[in-house]
Amino acid sequence: MGSFGIPLFPEQASTFARDVDALYFFIIAVSGFFALGVTVAVIVFGIVFRRRHAGEVGARIEGNLPLELAWSIIPTMISMVMFGWGASSYFHMRTPPAEALNIYAVGKQWMWKFQHLEGQREINELHVPVGRPVKVTITSEDVVHSLYLPSFRTKMDAIPGRYTHLWFEATKVGEYHIFCTEYCGTNHSGMIGTVVVMEPNDYQAWLAGGGVEGTLVERGQRLFQDLACGTCHLDTGKGRGPSLNDIVGKTVALADGSTAVVDEGYLRESIINSQAKIVQGYQPLMPAFQGLVSEDNLVALVEYVKSLSPQATTTAPAAATAPAAPAADPTKKK
């Protein structure tokens, strides 16, 4: 790809790429039209109406209301098209399909750490299968970073203290750049890596090749024991803390009268800073694990707690988002 040896476009390696590029070309066309129109107009006027003798003055034209209206309304309407198209692709990019593969990414000065549910952990390298939606849950251990996959046309900031998400579906086997695009200090430009898109079989083989510590859930379970979470969180619900079975996807009532939906962000907050949201009927007894659990381990804990809600994590959300999936479909067919 490219012209005169100068590359012009990054590779199109995800389902988003065509969509985003098409939108890009549309805006180029509109902009080109206006830019050329105005440029040609001012040049032509400059030649045709050039001053011919020193005392010449221009015609007295004060303005023209219909013209003013036309050139405010037409650009408004055109820009609404851009807005609508841009917004719909944004929604698409922000709505991971329910069946997406879950991968966790933790940014840290200056590296990317990825964890697969199967237990594989990697640094500055991310292996994903082709043709399957992948959802990456992102956070940071220190400052703000941003996970950027140019060939997939997507990026998302990694924010300390929070989970953010991005998703993509790779369409081409190959190796592509990973960049950190939020300035994060000295070695910001070194915080780069490679995303390796593999055939599903190769991916399975690759997954099988590692995971000495067991799957993410297993690691989480071990942590759960090591940190003695189970002393309070009994399955019976009779412990000092609420039972953690089947809570994901549900709405919990909080002590201050409000409610919260249990998702990964909520679980993370409940562990690291449990006092922020107190479950109704319980005391703020749970110690804050802030600083005691690294982001990597938190991810494992969260996955483990999620695994205690088997319906929610497999069937329930799929049902909830099922109607959205077909809506996303048209953009998927190439």
């Binding site: 201050d256 800073n273 006092q275 922020a276 107190i278 703020p284 007894l285 804050a288 802030q290």
Partner: protein, 227 residues
């Protein structure tokens, strides 16, 4: 604003007042310019504090319990006392402006001095409160100590508490400074019923400082006092 006209020479008369600067045509124009300038300045102040208030609002919604807990450690009687003092100083300030308008020189000076005194009382109480915070290690940072389960988020509260009240106190110190100059000018008889803009401008500033406190008091001291 006020210092733009601060060099004014006094004892004027309506036609061509000595306090009129060369680039203005009339006293009326000069006064209107100062008034507008002062109001625009206060407008910037509103947005200045606006940013802080938003931070406060957000964290209070997020960490209500922590804020309630931290707020209970503030001394409500000192806070209420200070509110009364500050409102009182607004009254004396308003009366000072009124005396200037009606050309009562000694009354102007008297009210201005009362305002300064009340302002200093407020600052004094603030010093007592701050000292108490230091003593109890309620200053956010490495030395912060709190028994409550919300220790971390309480630091957000105290950070905002110190920033907000600190900036407010800074405004008061500036105000007391300005007021001292104005009192001195008033004592020297630089103002009359045609020219009292500096007193009026100082007044607007002082009332604004009062306004900020009117919000700070319930937001900081009264987050949740029942139970």
């Amino acid at each position: 604003m006020s210092n733009a006209v601060a060099h004014a020479e006094a004892h004027g008369h309506a036609v061509h007042h000595d306090a009129l600067q060369h680039h203005f045509e009339t006293m009326q124009q000069q006064k209107e310019a100062s008034t507008l300038g002062m109001w625009v300045f206060l407008l910037t102040e509103v947005l200045f504090f606006g940013g802080l208030f938003f931070a406060y609002l957000l964290y209070r919604v997020w960490y209500f319990d922590a804020f309630a807990e931290a707020s209970r450690t503030l001394d409500i009687s000192l806070g209420a006392f200070n509110t009364a003092v500050l409102i009182g100083s607004s009254l004396t300030m308003a009366l000072a402006v009124r005396s200037a308008q009606t050309n009562q020189r000694s009354a102007t000076v008297r009210w201005l001095i009362s305002t300064i005194v009340l302002g200093c009382v407020f600052l004094g109480v603030k010093v007592v409160e701050y000292a108490d915070k230091f003593e109890h290690h309620h200053v956010p940072g490495p030395h912060f100590i709190s028994e409550s389960p919300w220790a971390a988020q309480e630091q957000l509260f105290f950070s905002l508490y110190f920033t907000m009240t600190g900036l407010h106190a800074l405004h008061m110190i500036v105000g007391v400074g300005i007021m001292s100059v104005i009192t001195w000018m008033a004592a020297k008889g630089k103002f009359d019923e045609h020219y009292y803009t500096p007193v009026e401008m100082a007044g607007l500033y002082w009332h604004f400082v009062d306004l900020v406190w009117i919000y700070l008091f319930p937001l900081l001291y009264l987050v949740e006092r029942h139970n």
